[in-house]
Amino acid sequence: MSVSDMFSYIQGFLSADQDVREDIRKVVQVLEQTAREILTVLQSVHQPSGFKDIPDKCTKARELFGTVQMHIADLKTKFPADQYYRFHEHWRFVLQRLTFLAAFAVYLESEALVTREEVAQILDIEVVRDKGFHLDVEDYLAGVLIMASELSRLAVNSVTAGDYNRPLRISNFINELDSGFRLLNLKNDPLRKRYDGLKYDVKKIEEVVYDLSIRGLAKEAKSEQ
């Protein structure tokens, strides 16, 4: 094989690779658009009026997740199933956002931490790598961490809206999450960086709880129940 033959052979590989990436990018763009729509729907819970119809918003978000499933099904057809990590970077960001949105919706519905299986089910993907397009554990954890900062915001806004009970529940939830993350031995990677932000969310929520308790508002809320 001559040198120039060899190079055109490699060139064939590279341009095929580029085509695949181009296709993936297109689908991921659409996915990002849908993710933004879901975020807009869920974000309205921060409005004082939004607290009343949380279930309604969750239903709407669930409907939009149907569209997400469709796009992900499309994405799956764009590359060979066993080369997930080759193109992982392209959808990593959007998958983390979607995990966050799913986790947030589930939290608003049931005040529980979404499991990885549930997220996989909402997005219609797999948990285990062998079975195809799956949710990487690091992406799941990153999504959960995004939700933590959203919850610290929600704690503040729920006080503004007059719901003094919610911050206490959020505080318990975040504390549990924090002790969960403390079990992990994280390397010095993006996930670790994001985890380092969790303590500020914890702190913020504790301050809210403190403010409520020092004014006896938390007690009031409790006796109301």
């Binding site: 094989m1 001559s2 040198v3 120039s4 060899m6 190079f7 055109s8 052979y9 490699i10 060139q11 590989f13 590279l14 341009s15 580029q18 066993d82 080369q83 997930y84 990590y85 080759r86 992982h88 931490l113 499991t115 990885r116 790598r129 554990v137 690091e138 954890l141 505080s171 318990n172 504390n175 549990e176 999450l177 002790s179 969960g180 993350f181 079990l183 992990l184 031995n185 994280l186 390397k187 709880v209 403190y210 308790s213 020092i214 004014r215 006896g216 938390a218 007690k219």
Partner: protein, 279 residues
């Protein structure tokens, strides 16, 4: 009254939080889930570290092989050195076999970053040896063909696993490309040192070969991974040095008697080396 009640609260809250944590540590679903994540992440990180270590071993041994191969110019008969290099490369392949074994059943792209440096170095060493022996570029298939490993076919042949397991390692085109780009630097050194030894044919062959590789890289251009464009710059420099050497050989060769040419060249090389050190 109200104030006093409020003062008591933070402490109480702290207690509540503590209680929550202890009860959480026991058997909450969240903690149980995170224990699973801990195991999964640790397993992955361990594997990654093992691969990094193997890759470093591959790098070191490959570099040594390359150093050994540079000695070819200073001895009359290259064959013993090539055979010794063969032995060394065999050892390297064994390590790559271990990498392949680690990657069995995994997505190799997930761990690609851990071993890419070692593989590139191996491609460099293997292609360098191939060039010295055959004066041609080793192909991707030839490299992949040498990375087929049989496992468990010796002692255990008579017991349960009568069929030997075959593990293959596929070098990715991008790694091959980067390895070949490194090869050109070695070829430049080979060219300069062979002139130093009074070998007048090798530089011309090498400049021919380097030009072909350079054309190949120009053909690929920026479709390749972005490291390629960085290496392309170094490749141009190497090519420039080799072409300069050939130029001098041609010009001076017509006026200086052959036996003095070596002296002319070794002084010129010293000059080039010092230039390189400054940059």
């Amino acid at each position: 009254m109200n104030k006093r009640g409020g003062e008591g609260h933070p402490q109480k809250n702290g207690n509540v939080a503590q209680q929550c944590e202890t009860s959480a540590n026991l058997s909450s679903p969240v903690i149980a889930a995170f224990k699973v994540f801990q195991m999964e992440l640790d397993t992955k990180h361990d594997k990654y570290e093992r691969l990094v270590k193997l890759s470093r071993d591959v790098t070191i041994e490959s570099k040594r092989t390359i150093f050994l191969l540079h000695r070819v110019t200073s001895v009359p008969d290259a064959e013993p050195i090539l055979n010794e290099a063969d032995g060394k490369l065999c050892g390297v392949r064994e390590k790559i076999g271990q990498i392949a074994e680690e990657l069995r059943g995994e997505d190799i792209y997930q761990f690609h970053r851990a071993f890419t440096a070692g593989i590139q170095e191996y491609v460099e060493a293997a292609s360098f040896q191939h060039y010295i022996r055959h004066r041609s570029l080793i192909s991707l298939e030839e490299i992949n063909a040498s990375l087929v490993f049989m496992k468990g076919d010796e002692g255990s042949a008579d017991t349960l696993s009568s069929e030997p397991r075959v593990t293959t390692f596929q070098v990715m085109p991008a790694d091959y490309l980067l390895g070949v780009a490194d090869l050109t630097g070695e070829l430049m050194r080979l060219c300069i040192s062979s002139v130093g030894n009074g070998d007048i044919d090798t530089p011309f062959q090498l400049s021919q070969f380097l030009r072909q590789i350079h054309d190949g890289f120009s053909y690929i251009g920026n479709t390749g991974p972005y490291e390629v464009s960085k290496k392309l710059h170094t490749l141009r420099q190497s090519l420039g040095k080799v072409e300069d050497a050939c130029y001098t050989l041609r010009v001076r060769g017509s006026e200086i008697p052959k036996h003095m040419l070596a002296d002319v060249f070794s002084s010129r090389n010293a000059h080039m080396d010092s230039e390189e050190a400054v940059v």
